[in-house]
Amino acid sequence: MNPTAERIGNEVERAIARSLKGLEYFGSPAPVVGHTPKDVIFERGTLHLYHYRPVTDEIYRVPILIVMATSNRGYILDLAPGQSFVEYLIGRGFDVYLIDWSPPTAADSGLRFEDYTLRFIPDCVQRVRDDTGEHDLTIIGYCMGGVLSVMYVALHPDDQPKNFVCFTTPIDFSRMELFAKWSDRRYFDVDKLVDATGNVPSELIFTSFEMLRPATRLAGQITLWENIADEKFVRSYRAFERWSSDTLPLAGEYFRETIKELIWENRLHRNELTIGGKRADLRSITAPLLHAMAEHDHIVPYAAAKPLLDHVGSTDKEEIILKGGHVSLVAGPNAVKRLWPRLDAWLGVRSV
């Protein structure tokens, strides 16, 4: 057969396979996520504290407490077998706890920074200590979970974690340029929004993230169609797609504080943030710190995250900048190869 005819034949075969798989795709159920066995050890309203079941014969002495971002579901860290951060950690011998958030109800609309940093996280720290019998623990915060963790650690200078890890954690909110522009105080009436809605709807949060990269969804769908015969690609695409659409509403007062204190006044960066009458002084953070950032992060640009290392009082501190974006830093094939082994090496020697 001549090469042109062969190529056309291959393309026709691929088109047929795509069509058949496409029909399967639309008829198949949503992908299963969050598969790693876990126990819920504490719940309070919007907060859920999970403990992942260890799988190794021995584990590191120091347990890990992960604080998930308030705008998204924690299963991004446990997406699918082989693509799960927590599965990787427990496989490497770490004892892992995770704070996950469910949608705040009308009763939660009054939650503020102080509820998260002086009640929720301290309560979970205590639960982990009670459950493990260990006082020391490592805190890992992702995105706004990292911001809340930074506030918590800064507010507790005499009770520092053994290790502190942040993933893509913004500190200088003036450098999150599009978010800062959209919430410009000259045009954006945050009081009117929160007073009218109670909790800020998830659709608004989802749209804000989508607007940062408006063409990416369509380009992703075209790429999906091209690769629809590739089961591994489709499974991964659907899991990510499910997660990115599964945005959480935000508690109204918490959102109001985020806009006014962090975006308008940039108080965390200026080291002037006061929570529950206590100053969250970043210089009070003295725990060993690792901050992982993504080179192409369109949500938390490097410039917004970078100042954390300069502000803290820790002497053992390190930042790593890896290829990838805001999500691919922590989940997906890039994370498996890049971030996870780096974290394992950094944390292992500090967890005995």
Binding site: R7, E11, D39, E43, G45, H51, R53, P54, V55, T56, D57, E58, I59, Y60, R61, G93, D95, T105, A106, A107, T132, E134, E177, L178, K181, W182, D184, R186, Y187, F188, D189, K192, L193, A196, T197, M211, L212, R213, P214, A215, T216, A219, I222, T223, E226, D344, A345, G348, V349, S351, V352
Partner: protein, 128 residues
């Protein structure tokens, strides 16, 4: 690698798609980063909120006149149910712990006991 790319008739199309995505994102970011965009976006949101508020007030009046509960009242009931469920969970957990603590008691725990391996692991020497 280059060979396989040469054989892929769709490679130029993929490059084009990637280029298009980057260009559109970049253009949109420039447009959305302007004062005019921010102003008009927030005006539109203000108008939507005002409309929602008007509808909410109208619905509240209508539901009250039809002797039906409002959304706020249903949410209040849901919240109280949530409280009852949480309390039941705590009571169940307490009863399970009490039953397990009874000497010689035959219990069937709701889930298998959580593994508690020793906290003695050291980092592998080759990787340190």
């Amino acid at each position: 690698m280059a060979d396989s790319k040469d054989k892929d008739p769709l490679a130029p199309w993929r490059d084009l798609l990637s280029q298009w995505e980057q260009n559109v994102n970049s253009l949109a970011n420039r447009t959305m980063g302007s004062d005019e965009y921010s102003s008009s976006m927030n005006s539109a949101m203000g108008a939507t909120l005002k409309m929602q508020e008007t509808i909410r007030q109208f619905m509240a009046t209508y539901l009250a006149s039809a002797n039906l509960p409002s959304r706020a009242e249903v949410l209040g009931i849901a919240e109280r149910l949530g409280g009852v469920e949480s309390r039941l969970d705590r009571i169940t957990a307490l009863l399970e712990r009490l039953a397990e603590a009874r000497p010689g008691a035959a219990t069937t725990p709701a889930s298998p006991p959580r593994p508690r391996p020793p906290r003695t692991k050291s980092p592998p020497k080759t990787e340190s």
